[in-house]
């Protein structure tokens, strides 16, 4: 990776291919981003043309201009993040085309119809760790020091390994820029939500430093008061991030970056005891993540660039349940995870038309938790190779392959081939095919957890048989009223015991159209053919009415659809954009059963049973067939005014089966579609100050039973003060 490039280094050779004006633009844009004082320079270009020459690093693990990459990549710039008034990553991603941020053990991102566990989340090219039931809580990420967010769609396991099956989200933080300056931002809004933070930047001669600090707190909100539980209980969190870089000589740069995050949350919940009484229990939860990431980059020659990186990250949670009445403990749990990885990469410009990228690394992971019987460890070694080849003018082919050897699983070989061809100056086509994989994680193997409040149990597949037998012997499993036998689903239990890695074959094909300098259209068709997908399965039922869950491979499923984006510069300072995704996601086993005519449903009114047709199948739950967004951004540097109106639509999606045939097929199994409209406006004055105010969810849409993430209308106001010299 090449995040801290020394000035004047040899690295950006790939830009030689570009027109000289593009090259200049890149130089102008990249150091200037996000600096309030320098923004006029940027505005001059953006006022007349769409900014299309952004550089991305996630698609090929080398710097490459956004429009030149052969795979679909979305970039959200710092400017856009600021205009949105966003403070956490969830808000930023939730407004992007084709991404859906839902709540399932935290807020994660659904990409190309695939659940959050299939998207790799990176900060400056290194993974964020600490997933709960597969979901990485994206609100852990503050956006105040983000330079841009790169979203790569389609499998990227050929470069990034496990988890990069649906795609990759790479959060690129700010790098030290020449000069000394800082910024302080205060924001306050509904639900007593306060965000206080600041950045500091220093760079002089060889030494560079960035520091970011943020405190974020909220009183939370309650959508269903009758439940006696807050939907989001009050919380406070702190984020600290810093990067120190030192240029040893004109070819070598050392850099160290680190991150620390801590969040405390307190809530109350009613617990039904065995005697049928309801007792109030208080929960104090703390989660922390930290990472340290030293790296060295060196330009060996104008053809060879090397990176050596080391990454150590940890994630810790602690939950204490106590009875509110007398303070005696009810339950306690903890979770400690570590991730340690050295990695080396060489970028070698072998030939004017070939750039080779080769990398290797070794990974240690460990988990120790109340939910695991003992400390569990996994090790993995990997290597990857990529050739970026431009055989003809306008034609670019990227071929890559990665091998991951694993201590727990069979090795995974992930190839990928992608290409882009500039057919006409205003028309380019691109296509890619590749394999993605996601190895079963610790949880799916070794988890041993019983929820103290709700009462369900989840067991890893290595031990589920033994644990179910134990529960049965202890009389904790519900008995069938008639047979007196425990309610155990034998076929599911069998599937759980033979878990394998998940994989996909994916195809993407699309167009980029630039009919005028003011209009850009992109379209991408995607098809993900998934094998051995892991889902939770209720293998037995407990006496308390809850289930015992484990994991199994749902043998085959697919997601496919079309994603389109349009950006149009309406007039100077005013950009209109719109995005749409059409998605079909189906379990292939269900489709087969439907073709065989072996799935039925009963009309609840007439009580008539009918055989379902393939067309009656609504697909996998929690996927919207239609998602769309419309955004209007205004930014006038001269007057200091900027603002935005953004509408995000999520079409209806399946929530749960209600008619007993276990598939999505009737209207009452869906959650209604909805629009969320957000507006914001900002005014910069006296060069240093920016006032911003906004309303999220202007129409005050809520759906308390099904949408825990939508709290209704929220207002906020913020003040940003820029400090220091220009």
């Amino acid at each position: 990776m090449s995040f801290a490039l020394p000035d004047g280094c040899c690295y950006p050779w790939q830009m030689h291919r570009f027109s000289s004006s593009a090259f200049l633009l890149v130089l102008v844009v990249s150091p200037a981003l996000g600096m309030a004082q320098q923004r006029p320079a940027l505005a001059d270009t953006s006022a007349q043309h769409l900014r299309l020459r952004e550089v991305v690093v996630t698609a090929t693990r080398t710097e490459k201009t956004l429009t030149e990459v052969p795979i679909p990549v979305t970039v959200v710039s710092r400017q856009q993040i600021q205009a949105m008034g966003a403070v956490r990553l969830t808000e930023v991603l939730g407004e992007q085309t084709g991404l859906n941020v839902g709540a399932d053990h935290g807020r994660g991102v659904q990409m190309q119809g695939l659940n959050p566990e299939y998207t790799l989340i990176l900060v400056d090219g290194e993974p964020l760790i600490g997933r709960t039931a597969g979901t990485l809580e994206l609100s852990r990420v503050a956006v105040g020091n983000i330079e841009r967010v790169e979203v790569v769609k389609g499998p990227a396991s050929a470069l990034w390994g496990s988890e990069a099956l649906a795609g990759v989200v790479n959060i690129i933080t700010q790098k030290p820029q020449p000069g000394t300056r800082g910024e302080v931002r205060l924001r306050y809004g509904a639900n007593r939500t306060a965000d206080v933070g600041g950045t500091f930047n220093y760079r002089h001669n060889q030494l560079g430093l960035t520091v970011f600090g943020n405190r974020y707190s909220s009183a939370g909100y309650t959508l269903q008061p009758a439940s006696g539980q807050a939907t989001v209980p009050p919380f406070t969190n702190y984020t600290g991030q810093s990067r120190l870089s030192y240029q040893l000589d004109d070819k070598t740069t050392l850099s160290v970056s680190g991150r620390y995050f801590i969040e405390d949350q307190a809530s109350n919940l009613p617990i039904t005891t065995e005697g049928g009484q309801v007792a109030q229990v208080g929960l104090k939860a703390r989660q922390q993540d930290f990472s340290l990431n030293p790296s060295v980059t060196r330009c060996f020659s104008d053809k060879l660039f090397g990176t050596l990186r080391f990454y150590h990250a940890g994630y810790r949670t602690k939950e204490d349940y106590t009875y509110t009445a007398d303070g005696t403990p009810y339950d306690a749990s903890y979770f400690h995870q570590t991730f340690t990885r050295p990695e080396a990469q060489l970028d070698w410009r072998l030939h004017p038309k070939h750039t080779l990228t080769v990398g290797t690394g070794y990974l240690w992971e460990s988990v120790e938790a109340t939910r695991y019987d003992q400390r569990q460890q996994m090790r993995s070694a990997y290597g990857y190779l990529q050739d970026d080849w431009s055989p003809l003018t306008g034609l670019n082919l990227v071929a890559g392959v990665r091998y991951d050897g694993h201590s727990q699983y069979q090795g995974q070989l992930s190839p990928k081939l992608s290409g882009r061809y500039q057919l006409r100056p205003w028309l380019a086509v691109r296509a890619s095919a590749g394999r993605g994989f996601r190895a079963p994680d610790f949880r799916q193997l070794y988890l041993n957890f019983s929820n103290p409040a709700v009462g369900y149990s989840v067991f890893g597949t290595h031990q589920v048989r033994e644990k179910v037998a134990q529960l049965a012997a202890q009389g904790q499993l519900a008995l069938d009223p008639a047979t007196g036998q425990p309610l155990i689903n034998a076929p599911l239990l069998e599937q759980a015991s033979s878990l394998t890695a998940e994989s996909s074959r994916a195809y993407n094909a699309g167009l980029q159209l630039d009919p005028t300098p003011k209009l850009r259209l992109t379209a991408n068709f995607f098809h993900n053919d998934l094998r051995d997908l892991i889902e939770t399965a209720a293998v037995a039922q407990k006496t308390n009415g809850q289930s015992v869950y484990s994991y199994r491979n749902v043998s085959r499923a697919y997601t496919q659809g079309l994603e389109t984006d349009a950006r149009y510069l309406l007039r100077a300072h005013l950009t209109l954009s719109a995005g749409y995704q059409y998605l079909v996601a189906k379990d292939r086993n269900v489709v087969t059963q439907l073709k065989n005519g072996s799935i039925y449903r009963r009309d609840p009114e007439t009580l008539e049973t009918t055989r379902l047709k393939v067309a009656d199948y609504g697909g996998l739950f929690n996927r919207s067939r239609h998602m769309a967004n419309v955004k209007l951004f205004y930014d006038n540097q001269a007057t200091g005014w900027s603002g935005s109106v953004r509408g995000v639509y999520r079409g209806r999606y399946g929530f749960q089966d209600r008619n007993g045939n276990l598939i999505l097929d009737t209207g009452n199994e869906y959650v209604a579609g909805y629009w969320l409209w957000n507006v914001s406006a900002a005014k910069a004055f006296r060069q240093r100050y920016t006032l911003q105010a906004g309303l999220d969810n202007v129409l005050n849409y809520t759906d308390p039973a099904y949408l825990s993430t939508v709290p209704g209308r929220l207002y906020y106001a913020s003040l940003t003060v820029a400090l220091g010299s220009k």
Partner: protein, 215 residues
């Protein structure tokens, strides 16, 4: 013209059938050809034993009733539980358990097969292969997903599985097909799990002539 012709053909055909049956003297012949009279689909509603009166008021749902509710398919009526040791009943229900009058449950020839398919498409009962109640297993298996119902552990709703048809041999050895459509009183369209439960609504076709024809 076509219509006229087919009507005429139909008349001739039924005349021939009538003649044939008139010639036959053997009333016990199961394969006897009769005028094709479609069997009627009957619906039985709210079959279920009265709940025990000593229900604790806090439990939400009444306790398990002491007796089963018994039903005779031929007479389309409930049979008092005092006749449980006779062949007057064909099926009996209590909570999610269904008995057939045979084996360990009664003195009749009762047996059952749970088959996947559409009620209307099953036009003949198999002559053999019927399961009989025993001490260890019922002819109609109980358990969520195993026999005729799914139990949702979140909502606690018992839903009869659509597409499960029970082929029944009655106490007297006649054949019938049966489909359970609701487990709740008055067959609510969308049960929430709080309605009085254990009240079966089922549709059935009973063949009184002893043949396996269930058309």
């Amino acid at each position: 013209m076509n219509q006229l012709f087919s009507r005429f053909a139909l008349l001739t055909l039924s005349g021939a059938v009538l003649t044939l049956s008139a010639c036959s003297n053997d009333d016990n012949d199961d394969n006897e050809v009769k005028p094709a009279e479609a069997l009627k689909t009957e619906t039985a509603s709210n079959l279920g034993p009265a709940p025990t009166s000593t229900t604790p008021p806090t439990a939400g749902q009444p306790g398990t009733p002491r007796h089963y509710a018994f039903y005779n398919l031929a007479t389309k009526s409930e049979v008092p539980y005092t006749d449980s040791a006779t062949t007057k009943w064909d099926i009996a229900v209590r909570t999610t358990t269904i008995l057939v009058n045979g084996g360990s449950s009664g003195p009749g020839q009762g047996g059952a097969i749970v088959q996947d398919g559409l009620f209307s498409e099953i036009t003949a009962a198999p002559a053999t292969g019927y399961n009989v109640d025993s001490r260890t297993a019922y002819a109609i298996p109980t358990g969520s997903g195993k026999g005729w119902y799914n139990y949702n552990s979140t909502t606690h709703v018992v839903s009869p599985i659509a597409g499960k048809v029970i082929l029944l041999r009655t106490a007297a050895g006649k054949y019938a097909k049966l489909e359970i459509v609701s487990y709740y009183k008055d067959a609510p369209a969308s049960p929430t799990g709080t309605e009085p439960r254990g009240y079966y609504t089922f549709r059935y076709v009973y063949q009184p002539d002893g043949s396996t024809n269930l058309k």
